[in-house]
């Protein structure tokens, strides 16, 4: 048992820090600092990805042969943590984090050869077609159908909560290829061009006025069977694997550390009704200390999980997801207090990449109301907090 970083890890950390210092432009850092969700805005994410791809760091989890790295688990944690701490934007995870590992594990040589480089380069922007209207967390009940027609399938149905579909050119979908089988059987995993005939992307406006999510409609969309990943009717296995990548591939505590840093920054600027700075207010300090302590508990839980699992996400990811998202929502609430009377102002354009215009109120708090509103969804998507607790009751406690 030890907390020590090896000499190699320290050297690696310093290399990461130096790289971030050199490469993170003020605009990128501003976008990273003022994120309103788990996603950065599209432009900053793609700009940062281009820089990382050039460095060879865009997809740390991939094998080196596909453009990934040979980093150890510790190094990946260091990289994530240092990136968050420096205020780097987040990359869109759908291609690099989700589809990439799936292709590497289940894809044909042709698929890997053609698609992986295009993900890294940003030529392809992928979105995820999992949820359907009326079946949020209940993946087994999906209805979108793919009917074989010679070497093709004909797709009909609809996907919802497809993040950034309006900025993507491709989508990976779970579809029903055998409607007569049991709910979880008869599902296949398929890749679709969004510019195929019969595909319509309808953006969904969020309550903060931004568009991150879409609904995608498929009407007699023809897709070659070559676009299957894994075998026909074995999509459930692929899907489950991907869900684990989705749940495991996030560093909650580092994001919360950033939230807390923002809270501390604002607490040094903003005054209470009594006229002193929030950071000097005993009640505020106590609430902040509470959350900082919870952050530490989460941090070392994530570290423990990562070390235990040697990089392979397991059932403990449910714990981390619940604890991480619920803590993050508590930090949101504290930030609302600091933003105070300026909460009604959503100045979305002031949050865009490269923005240099004017705005009202403190710049450090510009994203707070957006982030609060957006983050309500964090306990809903990717398996709601209730579903995660059901999973733990069954898998961990055997109830």
């Amino acid at each position: 048992m030890d907390l020590a970083l090896s000499a190699a890890d320290i050297a690696f950390r310093d290399e990461v820090r130096e790289f971030l210092k050199q490469s993170l432009t003020p605009s990128l850092k501003r976008s990273g600092d003022l994120m309103t969700s788990v996603f950065s805005n599209f432009e900053s994410a793609m700009a940062w990805q281009a820089i990382l791809a050039e460095k060879g760091w865009a997809a740390p989890d991939w094998p080196v042969e596909y453009g990934g790295t040979d980093w150890t688990v510790n190094q990946k944690i260091i990289y994530l943590k240092e990136s968050k701490r420096a205020g780097a934007p987040s990359l869109l995870p759908m291609g690099i984090q989700m589809l990439g590992p799936i292709l590497i594990r289940y894809g044909t040589e042709a698929q890997k050869h053609e698609l992986l480089p295009r993900i890294l380069s940003g030529e392809d922007v992928w979105c995820q077609g999992y949820s359907e209207p009326g079946a949020g967390s209940d993946l087994a009940s999906l209805k979108m159908r793919a009917v074989a027609d010679g070497d093709d399938y004909i797709l009909n149905g609809s996907k919802i909560w497809t993040s950034f579909a309006h900025r993507s050119n491709k989508i990976f979908c779970l579809v029903k290829t055998d409607v007569d089988s049991k709910p979880q059987a008869g599902i296949s995993f398929i890749l679709v061009d969004l510019d195929s005939a019969g595909v319509t992307v309808a953006p969904i406006v969020s309550i903060d006025g931004e568009v991150e999510q879409c609904q995608v409609f498929f009407e007699d969309v023809r897709v070659s069977k070559d676009n299957l990943v894994g075998k026909e009717n074995q999509g459930w296995e692929v899907a489950k694997c991907l869900l684990e990548f989705e749940r495991g591939g996030y560093c909650y505590y580092a994001a919360i550390e950033k939230q807390l840093a923002q809270v501390r920054r604002l607490a040094a600027e903003e005054k209470t009704a009594e006229g002193w700075f929030y950071e000097l207010d005993p009640v505020f300090s106590t609430r902040l200390a509470e959350l900082e302590i919870e952050k530490l508990a989460l941090e070392f839980t994530e570290n423990r999980v990562n070390c235990l699992a040697e990089g392979k996400p397991g059932a403990l990811t449910s714990l981390v997801k619940v604890a991480g998202t619920e803590l993050s929502q508590k930090v949101d609430a504290l930030a609302l207090e600091l933003r105070g009377t300026h909460l009604p102002l959503l100045q979305n354009e002031a949050l865009s990449y490269g923005f240099e215009g004017g705005f009202i109120g403190s710049e450090h708090g510009l994203n707070i109301m957006n982030a609060y509103l957006n983050n309500r969804a964090s306990t809903i998507y990717g398996g709601s907090a209730e579903i995660q607790r059901n999973i733990m009751a069954k898998q961990v406690l055997g109830l």
Binding site: I204, V205, A273, P344
Partner: protein
């Protein structure tokens, strides 16, 4: 003790509810929010014709002299239907401050307001006030024929539509800061209105006082009278925000229970999952507990009881806390769809969050309660 509405009050509740049900469904509300005009002038005129704009004003001012109970009834419905028309800003804040003044223009101005022809805004709080009425920085300097005003008022709802604005500032008189209230036409030179639409679908502004020169006749009140006007006005206002929360909570609970009974997942209505059932029960408990304090504080206010201020602070804390919990539960139970613009749920959430921070946060009112409580409770308890 009695917590039932009387017949007139029931009638009022019924007519406001019926009117909004017929004229203010969520789709139409959203059309209005997304339109070019800040609110529905026709609807406003209809309300004037129905006499509702006169409710909080005395009969000599042309009003109906309704009590805090009647106002609570109306605002509960306004909250329930997420009404964006500026009842709160024009009637409660602007009208509330004006009706308490002794300025000669009062009666005429209020009559115009009651007839629906005049809109107003109260521009008092500033960035650093955080709910504390005494804490402003705008300055009034005495000039030969009046005053010169400098400063910035923040998040002034309805300012973009206001014909008149009541503005506060501090005048340094013999080393003492004297609080002054001014009544200004909104087009007064130097009064810069930086307008924006708010996240809760209304319109507000940062109000910059760039050396605004005003006549002595614009002075509405000063010193302890000005302070009393503001304190009473904001006490009324806090109660009515609680009433708005109350209507929102009722509606959120209703819609959530309905949705949970219909929406199926894993082959059964999600309302059959015990965890969600208990969460909805907690929404219900929160709603009822908040209602009790709202009633108590409103009645204390009607009675002008010495502990009315204490109860208003308590009601605000409880109402904010409960409304926030109820709205967040409603979102969680509805799932992703509630985080979109399409459903009303998220709009309730936004209104609730905004309102809960406008005139001081929960922490502020909790502390205020603590102070008042030590004064009132400590020696032998309340009667």
């Amino acid at each position: 003790m009695n917590f039932e509405f009387n017949e007139e009050q029931k009638l009022l509740q019924h007519s406001v509810e019926a009117f909004l049900r017929d004229n203010y469904d969520f789709q139409r509300r959203q059309q209005q929010v997304e339109s070019d005009t800040p609110f529905d002038q026709d609807l406003w005129r209809q309300c004037a014709e129905l006499g509702w704009l006169g409710l909080p004003f005395s009969e000599e001012d042309g009003g109906l002299g309704a009590s805090a109970v009647e106002m609570m009834i109306v605002f509960e419905q306004l909250g329930r239907y997420l009404v964006i028309e500026p009842f709160f800003e024009t009637l409660v804040l602007f009208g509330g401050a004006l009706k308490r003044s002794r300025h000669p223009i009062r009666s005429e101005c209020l009559q115009q307001l009651i007839s629906g022809q005049l809109h107003g805004a109260l521009a008092h709080f500033e960035l650093h006030s955080r709910g504390e009425i005494g804490s402003i920085e705008s300055v009034s300097t005495t000039t030969d024929d009046g005053f010169c005003l400098k400063g910035c008022k923040t998040t002034v709802y309805n300012a973009p539509e206001a014909d008149f604005v009541i503005v506060s500032a501090l005048n340094l008189v013999r080393g003492e800061e004297l609080l002054q209230l001014f009544l200004l036409p909104a087009n007064k030179p130097g009064l810069e209105i930086e307008a924006y639409q708010t996240t809760d679908g209304r319109h507000a502004a940062e109000l910059h006082l760039n050396n605004v020169h005003v006549d002595a006749s614009c002075l509405l009140a000063e010193g302890s009278e000005a302070l009393a006007i503001l304190r009473e006005t904001y006490d009324d206002a806090l109660l009515l925000l609680c009433a708005e929360h109350q209507g929102a909570m009722e509606q959120l609970l209703r819609e959530t229970v309905e949705y949970a009974s219909e929406r199926k997942q894993f082959g059964q209505a999600i309302g059959s999952f015990q965890v969600l059932q208990h969460r909805m029960v907690d929404m219900y408990i929160a709603t009822e507990l908040a209602r009790s304090l709202l009633y108590a504080a409103t009645l204390k206010s009607v009675d002008q009881s010495p502990d009315a201020g204490l109860f208003i602070a308590a009601a605000k804390v409880k109402s904010d806390t409960c409304a926030k919990a109820v709205a967040e539960s409603a979102v969680q139970i509805h799932g992703g769809i509630a985080t979109t613009n399409e459903l009303s749920i998220g709009h309730y959430l936004k209104r609730i969050i905004v309102v809960s921070h406008l005139f001081g946060s929960t922490q502020y009112h909790q502390r205020r309660f603590g102070k008042l409580s030590r004064q009132l409770f400590a020696p032998g308890g309340m009667a």
